[in-house]
Symmetry: C2
């Protein structure tokens, strides 16, 4: 019943792509699909093909479960992106009419339903529509949906009774599932369905920024801290359980059964970007990067043809990417994220150009009353050397903020070859270089990328006594096909030396980690199952690959965490 959202996400991704990679054939296809969408719109503005063709009796009858406003949200995002990419109003006008219809049905006025969607999405979409159109009423509608959420009497209770259902029979059993268990400012724990949570929090930050709403901002900071200090995998994956596609309890982060849905990690990136817009702190960007290079990037095969819905940190080899899903939310979400990556790499204010992520690219930023072009050249994440050519249209004074990642213990920066003292210039993890920039100025950043062995907080039972390997922003894993011993027998003692090597022909070119670890030896166990002497170990060489690249060769076991002792 939410198939419209898949079409909408494709329209958005295609539009975003047209903005940076013009393609008349793709543009014609987009126009064709938009024409079909426009034809499906009712005279009163209503637009949802499921509730038009399959289940017309049930329009707006079950906001809790049936994703109608969620689908509207994705179509709105598509309309805004299409307009911004092409200047065409074809889809924008359609969604504006639809939003006007929605605004007439939902709200606090007499005769309106005080409803909101069980799956947040339209809230962040309406902020984009506001930016595309400049119409305050779209921002107001977003605020209404966010503020109404979780208020008593509870809309989903009322709505269930109107359908003749007992609200207590809600299959998910708790409104924590859709983050409507209490008003948003009273939510202090990250709970429920992870994608819904991320989309809601993203909209809350949008509104915090648009309205200068400090209490929404504080709520988000609190939720962020809870998520990233108690409920996040080392890959940036979030949402432990498949049961609610979401959060369970603090430190409950099992590896093999990790749900860690692709869309949830993408939502985490959306939210991190909004937090950065109000507060340029490294800790937000660090996790945006972590999720991007690990839990998100793992979701797509190296040939781009198959996808993970779940991104576990351990596998017996049965978990493999699929070309498509019955619920195909993740693949088009990846498409629209990758097609808009510039929005996550760069940021701008009147006084500052900001580089959050190091990815070879050219960014055009509106800073100091002109367009400043930043040209990044880098082999990142394989090494930590980043050269940025700063090209203002004319010489001008402004700040250039460059993130010094939290994983980096040793960084240096030069401007036109001259070393910069970083200590004086660090602001919340960003080095800020303010000067009169000339076209062609070159900033060079060197980020040391030694191999790190990570341990997990002692409360994370699943990772106790184990270590994970990290280099730069990449979390590593061991796949069976790279090892000579069975993966489940390997131990990585603290003393085992590890080195990194770029392998141009492996998995599209990756840096692998190699070293000598230990393998548990069963040679002297014969028919013994339990005995007083612990198993002996023998040295064995191991190879680790970036986590994102696993499951691209023959199926086999995979582990991110390895025991540190026998």
């Amino acid at each position: 019943m939410f198939w419209d959202s898949d079409v909408a996400k494709w329209l958005e991704a295609a539009s975003l792509s047209l903005a940076t990679h013009p393609d008349p054939q793709l543009e014609a296809l987009v126009d064709e699909v938009i024409a079909l969408v426009a034809q499906a719109q009712h005279a009163d503005g209503y637009l949802n093909t499921w509730f038009t063709t399959v289940d017309p009796e049930n329009q707006w009858k079950n906001l809790r479960d049936w994703h109608e406003l969620y689908c509207a949200g994705h179509m709105i995002e598509a309309g805004a992106a299409h307009y911004e990419a092409t200047g065409k109003r074809t889809l924008l006008d359609v969604v504006c009419r639809y939003v006007d219809h929605i605004a007439s049905r939902f709200g606090p006025e007499p005769g309106q339903k005080r409803g909101y969607c069980g799956h947040p999405e339209i809230e962040l979409a309406l902020v984009k529509l506001y930016h595309a159109t400049g119409e305050d009423r779209y921002l107001e509608l977003s605020r209404y949906f966010v503020e109404e959420r979780g208020r008593q009497p509870h809309y989903f209770d009322q709505e269930a009774r109107e359908r003749g259902d007992d609200p207590a029979n809600f299959w998910a059993r708790t409104y924590e599932y859709n983050q409507s268990h209490r008003p948003v400012r009273e939510q202090h724990q990250v709970v429920g369905h992870a994608v819904r949570a991320m989309y809601l929090y993203t909209a809350m930050m949008d509104l915090a920024r648009e309205y200068g709403d400090a209490s929404l901002h504080e709520t988000c900071e609190h939720l962020w801290r809870h998520l990233t200090t108690k409920r996040m995998y080392v890959t940036g994956g979030i949402g432990t359980s498949g049961q609610n596609e979401g959060f369970t309890s603090d430190y409950d982060l099992p590896n093999e059964s990790a749900y860690a849905e692709t869309c949830a990690a993408i939502g985490l990136i959306f939210w991190a970007q909004r937090l950065l817009q109000l507060d340029c702190q490294r800790r937000y960007a660090d996790i945006m990067e972590l999720a991007l290079y690990n839990s998100v990037l793992s979701a797509i095969s190296s040939d781009g043809q198959a996808f993970f819905y779940e991104n576990p940190l351990e596998s017996s080899g049965h978990h493999q990417r699929q070309p498509w899903f019955f619920c195909p939310c993740c693949p088009p979400n990846l498409a629209r994220l990758f097609a808009s990556l510039g929005e996550y790499i760069y940021a701008q204010s009147e006084t500052d150009a900001v580089v959050h992520l190091y990815i070879q690219s050219t960014g055009k930023l509106a800073v100091a009353g002109q367009t400043v072009t930043l040209r990044q050249e880098t082999n990142y994440p394989w090494d930590g050397t980043v050269t940025i050519q700063v090209n203002p249209e004319q010489p001008a004074t402004f700040g250039l903020r460059l993130r010094i990642p939290g994983w980096c213990q040793s960084a240096s920066v030069t401007v036109n070859g001259e070393a910069i003292n970083l200590t004086d210039r660090l602001e919340q993890g960003y080095v800020r270089l303010e000067r009169r920039w000339q076209p062609g100025d070159v900033v060079k950043l060197e980020l040391a990328m030694p191999i790190e062995r990570l341990s997990a907080h002692p409360e994370i039972k699943a990772d106790q006594g184990q270590i994970a390997l990290q280099r730069g922003p990449l979390i590593y894993c061991l796949e069976q096909c790279d090892q000579t011993e069975p993966l489940h027998r390997l131990v990585l003692p603290p003393a085992a030396a590890l080195t990194s090597h770029f392998e141009p022909d492996l998995l599209g070119g990756v840096v692998v980690l190699r070293g000598t670890a230990a393998a548990l030896d069963d040679a002297d166990w014969a028919d013994t199952l339990y005995r007083p002497d612990p198993p002996a170990t023998r040295p064995t060489s191991i190879t680790a690959i970036p986590y994102y690249a696993w499951a691209n060769r023959e199926p086999g076991a995979m582990q991110v965490w390895l025991p540190a002792s026998a």
Copy 2:
């Protein structure tokens, strides 16, 4: 539909109890129940109250799933036990008539069904009936059922087709589930439903002994080795998965999700006893003892009022004993095992009296043409001192075999105060003392019981890097209520000293193990979830209790295996 088996198991347990603890009130109750059972018998001998009162259309229609012969088996065991305990033929005659009916319906002759039960049980019961009556035809029927099992054309296929079902739709998907996937002599792996497997293998050993059938014996030895070297928990629990209530794959022995059904461990004891009857080897008795003191004894609460169906080796505290079950097979199985414990403690042959288990008791054995009374005095398993008074009616020469348990590295034996050189007299783990025994001779056994730290075979992933504590035959566990730190934070390094202490007021009187272990410290973690430095540890005292005694105080976490390093 197998409720008759619960009544039968109660009748058997009550009869066994009458043999050692005469009780007119109980005997009258047994007689009353037997009269009811007799009234339910059809004129042709058929006896099953479900298929008489609830589902009369479906007699003998689904041997694969419906437990009809299984129920018959339990009633036969009850009839034999009742006759042997009381000399009364009331139930014995009923079951003989029923078996004659069964023998007329099932067999290789024309007009008979070549069937056998999906749940083995009647096979071992018929051997008991043969012993009670001396009628060869009961032994022959047992042999028929065992030999027919798994032959082609497969009876369960034919039977399903006769019901109009597709045999391929068998819910368990494989005849490994009920050990009918191939003829029994071609079975080399312990597979399927664990209780079914144990009951079948027990009957196979019975037949191996009665018929001197070497190939059945060899098959059982092979299966025993497979089970005890690849598919058994350290507690003697067997059957990993709740899905098939049985076996999965080699070394797949997760702790928290362990099924380890009570009845399966009891069946393992039955089988071990049969193996010992043909081959008095310590390795069978060691595991009989292990299962008895751990996976079986854990199944009953310290007040005797509540039971475990599953006996996991780790728990968050939600797994608690229940007063009864929808499928109540386990509690009466415990009752009949405990009421017949003498058959497992002692064994006899014409030339030898055997003590397999050390349990304070008096055994009357038929040896050397007379009754030899053995009187064991011991505080076992709390200490390893066992005094056995040997009382033949008259002085006589015979052997006394005493098991030196495999867990014991240092044992000594005296006869009337004189030390015996064990090395010369050990036969397959039993010391054999042959002499002219006089009434009042005293044998004293000293078994050293240091605390052992067990490691698991390197292929058992669930136990890697972990240790379990054992003292004597008892496996220990840690329960949260005895610790000052959260159980999941504890580490037990090899250097941590442990001592044992008898606590008379704890859990009915148990030896606890105490020591100083390490607790993972989160004091310096603040808001960090992952970091390069491993967690620090601080010393903490721990107390371990016998595994069987867990879950008798306030609910809380429990672990058998503890990490050996942080």
